[in-house]
């Protein structure tokens, strides 16, 4: 267990160093968030119908999902991909720890360090320094805030499981480009990053609810906004947990299959 904690710690420390990249990331995400907020503002201004979420809630949704973009499983660990394509993954197999768990710890650091660097400044700016029209709202209540923290942790674990699956899939492809492109697109749309899920057509809601991706962004958002009462947290935590569990099991099975067929070339 101590080995895993130190893996996480080391990788986390390393990733926290990338401050310049973080600043660039913050600017990019701020711009994208701002564009999306403006577009949503224009849409809301064009219709008088009652919407599933109020304008202010939607703006908050957009900002927080941008802030937590780093936590979304939109990419894999590039070092792991390197290792696999160069064959150095053979060294990893010689280590006395389970490879899946090892990679999971790396994913955990990858999904937390960059996020922390970006989320905190973005939160501060959008909560306090934007005009009312575009600013983020504080959480609905203390209980909502607490619920949000819990489901965010759930989202983090789910994200690590998906990220790890992505890493493992690299054992099968040479350049991995196809999956590398497809995964972020699928994740973005079905998690609520591109468009908040409540705004999707009503007939799509059940499908979106069942898919694992809603647990990544949409579920935390609903609790933060008070859209769902904090007391109903159990079914959602369960949804996240079940998917995380299933994806971890699948990942472990996949990695043992994948390693059997790895050919290490020479030298």
């Amino acid at each position: 267990m101590r080995a895993y904690i130190s893996i996480v710690k080391l990788r986390f420390m390393l990733l926290i160093q990338y401050r310049v990249a973080a600043i660039a990331g913050i600017c990019t995400q701020f711009l994208f968030g701002f564009v999306r907020v403006m577009v949503i503002a224009a849409f809301y201004a064009s219709s008088t119908a009652i919407q599933p979420m109020s304008y202010g809630q939607t703006v908050t949704y957009i900002w927080i999902s941008q802030a937590f973009l780093g936590m979304l499983p939109w990419n894999g660990d590039s070092e792991i991909q390197e290792m696999i394509s160069s064959g150095n993954v053979a060294y990893e197999l010689c280590r006395p720890i389970d490879l899946y768990n090892h990679w999971f710890c790396r994913a955990f650091a990858q999904r937390t360090a960059p996020t922390l660097l970006r989320a905190i400044p973005l939160f501060i700016v959008t909560l306090f320094f934007l005009p009312e029209k575009y600013s983020m709202q504080p959480p609905n209540s203390l209980a909502s805030f607490g619920a949000w923290i819990l489901v965010t942790i759930g989202a983090l674990m789910l994200s690590c499981a998906i990220t790890n699956l992505f890493n493992i899939s690299m054992l099968w492809t040479i350049s991995g480009d196809g999956i590398k492109r497809l995964l972020p697109a699928v994740v973005m749309i079905f998690s609520g990053m591109t468009v908040p899920l409540p705004l999707f057509p009503t007939w799509m809601q059940p499908i979106l609810r069942i898919l694992p991706f809603s647990g990544l962004v949409d579920t935390p958002m609903r609790f933060y906004l008070g859209n769902i009462k904090p007391s109903s947290i159990m079914p959602f935590l369960f949804h996240q947990f079940i998917w995380t569990f299933v994806l971890i099991l699948y990942g472990k099975w996949l990695i043992s299959r994948g390693l059997k067929r790895v050919e290490v070339q020479g030298g």
Binding site: A21, A24, G25, C27, T28, L31, F32, V35, R36, M38, V39, I40, A42, F43, Y44, A45, S46, S47, A49, Q51, D177, G178, I179, R181, L182, P184, A185, V186, M188, I189, T194, V195, L199, F200, P201
Partner: protein, 240 residues
């Protein structure tokens, strides 16, 4: 597989737009087919630029490793070489999707599709391509001074595509002005589209503007090239 993935990705992009229209019906007086026109045009322009100019994207690594020196020594046009280096056929995905969306837009707008209008669309797509390539060139030029391809320019390229998907009238005035006068996305997308749609421009632009503004994209590219050449002249190799 790559092309399919790329197609699916940009298609998923449009689903996002469609969802919003399904819910709200219109955006500040514009309906979905009109947005599809903007969307199709800008994505096609960007797809072509992306396919050709990714060589400039990896430019910073070439400067760092010194490989740029090798390219300079070759007796062929510098810019053409860099463009050719990373021509990626897989970008076909975004192009195809833009094309399909554009065709759907033209079909649903019930527009009298005159030859002149089609030419206008083609020219504005070309203008947009030049604009984006110009931006990629600027991105490469920045690496002369900071040896890191600045993500800032990505904000204007990828961000620019997202911004130009919608008519600039929906944005605040200061934001709009930036994308008309500084990074002239509106000139290669919004204004020509006004000519195609035959709509009275809420911004009260002159009637001849749609036909002339795509040229701004080409002008931008030429300016970017000058900056690039300036950078090359003052290039100091990182050595080895």
């Amino acid at each position: 597989m790559m092309a399919i993935a790329h197609f699916a990705i940009t298609f998923i992009d449009f689903i996002g737009v469609w969802v919003l229209f399904d819910r709200f019906g219109a955006i500040k007086g514009w309906n979905l087919p009109e947005i599809a026109l903007f969307y199709g045009m800008i994505h096609m322009a960007f797809a072509i630029a992306e396919a050709g100019a990714r060589g400039f994207d990896t430019f910073d690594s070439k400067v760092r490793t010194g490989e740029f020196d090798r390219i300079l020594l070759r007796p062929r046009s510098l810019v053409l070489q860099i463009i050719g280096q990373e021509f990626q056929l897989m970008r076909i995905g975004r192009f195809t999707q833009g094309f399909i969306v554009l065709c759907w837009a033209m079909w649903s707008l019930n527009n009298s599709l005159s030859f002149i209008k089609v030419m206008l669309i083609i020219i504005s797509i070309l203008g947009g391509t030049f604009l984006f390539i110009g931006l990629f060139v600027l991105q490469a030029t920045l690496s002369f001074w900071s040896v890191q391809s600045l993500e800032v320019v990505n904000m204007v390229t990828y961000g620019g595509v997202e911004i130009a998907q919608f008519p600039v009238t929906i944005y605040d005035s200061w934001f709009r002005k930036f994308f008309i006068f500084v990074v002239p996305l509106a000139c290669v997308n919004y204004f020509p589209a006004m000519g195609v749609l035959n709509k009275t421009d809420p911004l009260n632009s002159p009637a001849w503007l749609p036909w002339v503004s795509p040229i701004i994209g080409i002008v931008f590219f030429i300016l970017a090239l000058q900056v690039f050449k300036f950078g090359v002249r003052h290039y100091k190799s990182t050595g080895s």
